[in-house]
Each structure stands twice: as structure tokens, then as C-alpha cells.
């Protein structure tokens, strides 16, 4: 399977969950999009850059607090939800979803995806 095909398959796992509007693999260091499957209207490069920036700050906060590495973030907003799982490879697996999405199911798929890209 090609790299693009493999990443596409990984993102399929997430976007098939009802209420997910898009999923991305983001290079955690650079904030650049590695692969994406997003509905129209979602600004992929902006979400990637800002999520990676937030990820860096969260990582430092966790380290400062002596809590170790973060495994899952869930940011709830008025009109949707941002869910992120950092993979061991430094890639962030990101999902953008509706506010009423099944968080547990998306989290499970994000964790599976993070193992696949690790």
C-alpha cells in the first residue's frame, strides 16, 4: 500500500464515525498537514498549525506539572469539538467533529489511528 493510501485508510477509520467533519495527520513539530480528509469550510492548514502550537504548549505544561506525556485532548466549543491524540512518532491525529459526536468512539478511533502511524 502506498503512503498516501495507508494514511487515507487511517483517516477513514476516524471520518466514518457519525458526526466527524474531518480528520488530519499533523506533523507535531512543524504544524504542517501530513494528510487530511476534511469537509468543505474547514481550514486545514490553520487548524494544523494552531493545534501543533497548542500541543507544544500543552506538552510543556504537562512536563512542568510532572504529569508525563498527554494522550488525548478534547476541546469543546459552541459549534463543535476538536479531538487530538499525539502519536509516538510526533504526529498529531486530529478530528474535527459536531458538538454531539460520540466522544468515546472518536477517541477509540483516534487511538487506533495513532498506533497505525506510530
Amino acid at each position: 500500500m502506498t503512503t498516501a493510501g495507508r494514511f487515507g485508510h487511517v483517516l477513514d477509520l476516524i471520518t466514518r464515525v457519525r458526526g466527524v467533519r474531518g480528520a488530519m495527520l499533523v506533523a507535531g513539530d512543524d504544524g504542517l498537514v501530513v494528510a487530511e480528509q476534511l469537509m468543505e469550510g474547514i481550514k486545514g492548514p490553520a487548524v494544523a498549525a494552531l493545534a501543533a502550537s497548542l500541543g507544544g504548549r500543552l506538552r510543556r505544561a504537562m512536563e512542568a506539572a510532572g504529569l508525563g506525556a498527554s494522550v488525548f485532548w478534547h476541546l469543546q466549543a459552541d459549534q463543535g469539538t476538536l479531538l487530538v491524540v499525539p502519536a509516538a512518532s510526533g504526529v498529531l491525529v486530529v478530528a474535527v467533529a459536531e458538538p454531539d459526536v460520540n466522544i468515546g468512539l472518536v477517541r477509540l478511533e483516534l487511538l487506533r489511528a495513532s498506533e497505525a502511524v506510530a
Binding site: D29, P45, A49, S53
Partner: protein, 156 residues
């Protein structure tokens, strides 16, 4: 961090870019190396060196693109262990603006710089004076113009 501008219309977009992209140093200049504004530099000699080197890179990569029969490169990014350098150009009504930005990898990222660079370019295009021709610097006036620009850029 203080931003200073020879061309005052560049100041607000530059200040916004520095704050949002969390960049350490920024130079706005022409492809000839004439500085329009700077942020983060503390010595005039550093501004002059960075402007000359940035302009040289733009010229050489532009020529390389010409040799490859393609449009000039949109942007150049060089990433070291601790810092990244981002260099890009965009057209405005008065000519071309070169942006040279240096960012700490701990604080910012290429993605953030690219994201807010697009905003910077849009803001500068909107803010640039319309219908005016930029003042040409003649060789005879070069030293005086350079000295005045550096005085403005460092608040002397």
C-alpha cells in the same frame, strides 16, 4: 519587542505578525535589500547583514527558478536545531516585498509562520499606499538614505 518602520504603513501588519506567529526577528524589505521595517533586531549591523543576505538569497533562488524554467519559488524555509528561517516574497502595488522571519522552534513552527505570513501579506497589500511610486534611491544619496533609515529603524 519593538518593531520600527521606515515605511509607517507596514508597522501595524508587522506588529500583528510578530505577536501572532511568535517570531523572533523579522525584516520587511525590497528585493534590492532596502529595509522597510524591522522587528527584534538590536544592532544596525545585523539589519544590514540580514537584508543583504536575504536579498541575495531571493536573487539567487529567483535565478535558479529561471534556469529551471519555472516561476520563482514561493517561499524558502531553512530549519536548524533551534531556529528556523522563513523567506518569502509577494507583490504589492509599489513593487515586491521580501519578508525574512527567524523563529524559535520551541516557541513557533513553520506552520504558524506560514499561516500568519498569509495574513501579513494580505494586510500589507491592503495598507500599502495606492497610486504612489516608491522613491528611488540614487547612488549619490545612498549613504545618507541608509543612515536615515537605520536611524529610524533603531529610534535614534
Amino acid at each position: 519587542m519593538t518593531a520600527r518602520a521606515v515605511e509607517t504603513w507596514t508597522l501595524q501588519p508587522l506588529t500583528d505578525f510578530v505577536r501572532e506567529a511568535s517570531v523572533r526577528l523579522v525584516l520587511l524589505m525590497t528585493p534590492a535589500g532596502q529595509v522597510l521595517a524591522q522587528s527584534g533586531f538590536s544592532r544596525a549591523v545585523d539589519v544590514m547583514s540580514a537584508a543583504a543576505l536575504g536579498a541575495a538569497i531571493v536573487a539567487s533562488t529567483g535565478e535558479l527558478a529561471k534556469q529551471l524554467r519555472q516561476a520563482p519559488f514561493a517561499a524558502l524555509n531553512h530549519q536548524g536545531n533551534r531556529h528556523g528561517i522563513f523567506l518569502s516574497t509577494f507583490p504589492i502595488e509599489r513593487g515586491t516585498v521580501v519578508v525574512l522571519a527567524v523563529y524559535d522552534l520551541d516557541v513557533s513552527s513553520l506552520g504558524l509562520v506560514q499561516l500568519f505570513y498569509e495574513q501579513l501579506a494580505a494586510d500589507l497589500k491592503a495598507a500599502s499606499p495606492k497610486g504612489s511610486v516608491p522613491k528611488q534611491v540614487l547612488a549619490a544619496d545612498f549613504e545618507r538614505e541608509l543612515s536615515e533609515s537605520l536611524n529610524t529603524l533603531f529610534g535614534r
